[in-house]
Symmetry: C2
């Protein structure tokens, strides 16, 4: 059964259940020309949007509908996390080809609803239309934050310590497994695959960091460590010094790289879609904040380098050598 | 030259100019993980989103980039107009195939910027990515309105007079010209073509109507008169009576239908994408509001029928016959 069998409005009725989970201050959800709601008083509105195209960002034959929906929303929530915000309302546009089964679409929404429920997010509207061949998903998410707590890319200061909320490179390893048809036949490989397939947004971590005095800049790792720290360097007009032995590499990635003969640091630097947060913290605050972070999340806040005033992007190797690096993560267009 | 030549970030720099035209209360525009801005105090936020796919909603070889951008944004603004709101911030996602020239894309943004400037709207963010073959555009627009002034679909009352802010059917005639390769060789045909290609959103008209006491329900004509008045009927649980001789048919459409042997009323009923507003007004207020509307806009507010409690959708013909009609406008999926 596909969408032609039940029509656009039949489909909307079918997927609407479970979309409105936080009805307070919502005046109109799905079903009118626009959604209508009261914003939280005295807060700033945050908006982010992402467009995913089959064959470019995902392949329908290598993902379940559930996982695709979960990740599509997660990617957007990660952008709200990177501002230090609370995610509030999501708007889902999909264009659906004839060969896309209704069950797949319902699972797609189930994946989004699962993640939305976990973070108290409403799915408040969207658009449903036809596509010729490819499934297309656009998600816009509204969040909010107090003005003084929002964290930007252009506010890093020389001397700041660069921190990561989690492991880097796992997602790229997971992507390698999928694109090379390597079965995830161990817990290690499954964990790497899941890091790519169902990444969690660090919304709670982002909120926590935003409320600490002394955190200056923040970004999420979507394009890759080198690219995303490069955005902070460029926007803040500062230099970057990373220490290779401090970059958080999971045991799973170590084993994967040993088995397939890759360099884990290179994986961490150039890999994308980790959706951890990178932040820069005043040196006199970093140990206090890291200790609080560890108590709160039972995970370390990894200190991986420093902001400098050199304008350079440098990687200090464990053998004492210094390599310059350039943003080599993912630019969707640029021909290398 | 295409996007690969300058990269995603090069492109963003190129199109950013002229996007922020109303900087008051905007904290972060294009260039971070999310946009950030203060909402207008005490108002409700309105959000609408539309996804347009090449080959389904438009054809690149029959439109200019400018007109495509103009219309893509206009369609969204019309949804805000239909709520009685003010349009404030737009977020543009595009997926671009390799064969799409950079000039076409710049014109696409120029079309959006022209319309945005006319209505005081910022383009505050978006996403730019690759597509395999088709150009894909998703636009999300945020607007605002005072809670008491918002107009919905489910609040029509029996006895209300149904009004339209403009002609119906012109856009479908314009589409016919385009799809049948008929040259618009007269001012009449050019006007019809433009009604389809560069429709204007009735934002000022929607605001005006929302502020008048006695306007009960409103919707914009995107799917077609019969479909969209059908949405009001279904959501408000009421009946509809339209008078065929009162449906506003332009002289241009009359001439077009005479020349190509179509029924203008049928065109007005089933045609879509007029982007006029349909509203229902208390009978004791309608003449007063229509007189004010005429003074303000120098165009009549057309009174085309009534809301009934019959549950039926009826069309009264000029010969005294009554025909029932069903929503026969555009459902993207439903196989007829």
């Amino acid at each position: 059964m596909n969408l032609r069998d039940i029509g656009e409005f039949g489909f909307i009725k079918r997927i609407s259940r479970g979309c409105l989970i936080r009805p307070q201050n919502i005046i109109k959800a799905i079903g009118d020309d626009a959604a209508a709601f009261f914003p939280p008083p005295h807060e700033v509105i945050l908006v982010t949007t992402d467009l995913l195209v089959e064959g470019v960002h995902f392949f329908r034959n290598t993902t379940s509908g559930f996982n695709l929906g979960y990740k599509a929303l997660s990617v957007n929530l990660s952008d709200i996390a990177a501002m230090g915000g609370i995610a509030r309302e999501a708007f889902i546009s999909i264009a659906v080809p004839d060969d896309c089964d209704l069950d797949f679409l319902e699972e797609l929404y189930n994946g989004m609803k699962r993640l939305a429920a976990e973070f108290g997010l409403n799915i408040l509207g969207g658009d449903t239309t036809l596509s010729k061949t490819d499934l297309i998903i656009n998600i816009s998410v509204l969040g909010s934050a107090f003005e003084k707590e929002i964290l930007y890319r252009n506010t890093a200061q020389p001397g700041d310590i660069i921190c990561s909320t989690g492991f880097l490179g796992d997602s790229r390893a997971g992507l390698h497994l999928i694109t090379h048809n390597i079965e995830a036949d161990s817990n290690e490989l499954k964990t790497l695959r899941d890091a790519h397939v169902i990444p969690k947004p660090d919304l709670r971590e982002g909120r926590f960091l935003a409320r600490q005095g002394g955190v200056h800049a923040m970004i999420d790792v979507s394009d890759g460590l080198s690219s995303d720290i490069g955005h902070i360097a460029e926007e803040s007009n500062v230099g970057i010094r990373l220490y290779s032995e401090k970059i958080p590499i999971s045991n799973n990635l170590e084993k994967f790289c040993a088995r397939f003969d890759f360099d884990p640091v290179e994986y961490a630097l150039a890999g994308g879609e980790d959706y951890t947060l990178l932040c820069t913290i005043s040196p006199d605050r970093v140990d206090h904040i890291a200790a609080n972070y560890l108590r709160r999340f039972r995970n370390p806040l990894y200190q991986i380098g420093e902001i400098t005033d050199s304008g350079k992007m440098e990687l200090f190797l464990s053998n004492g050598q210094i390599r310059s690096f350039s943003p080599s993560g993912w630019d969707h267009f640029k021909t290398k």
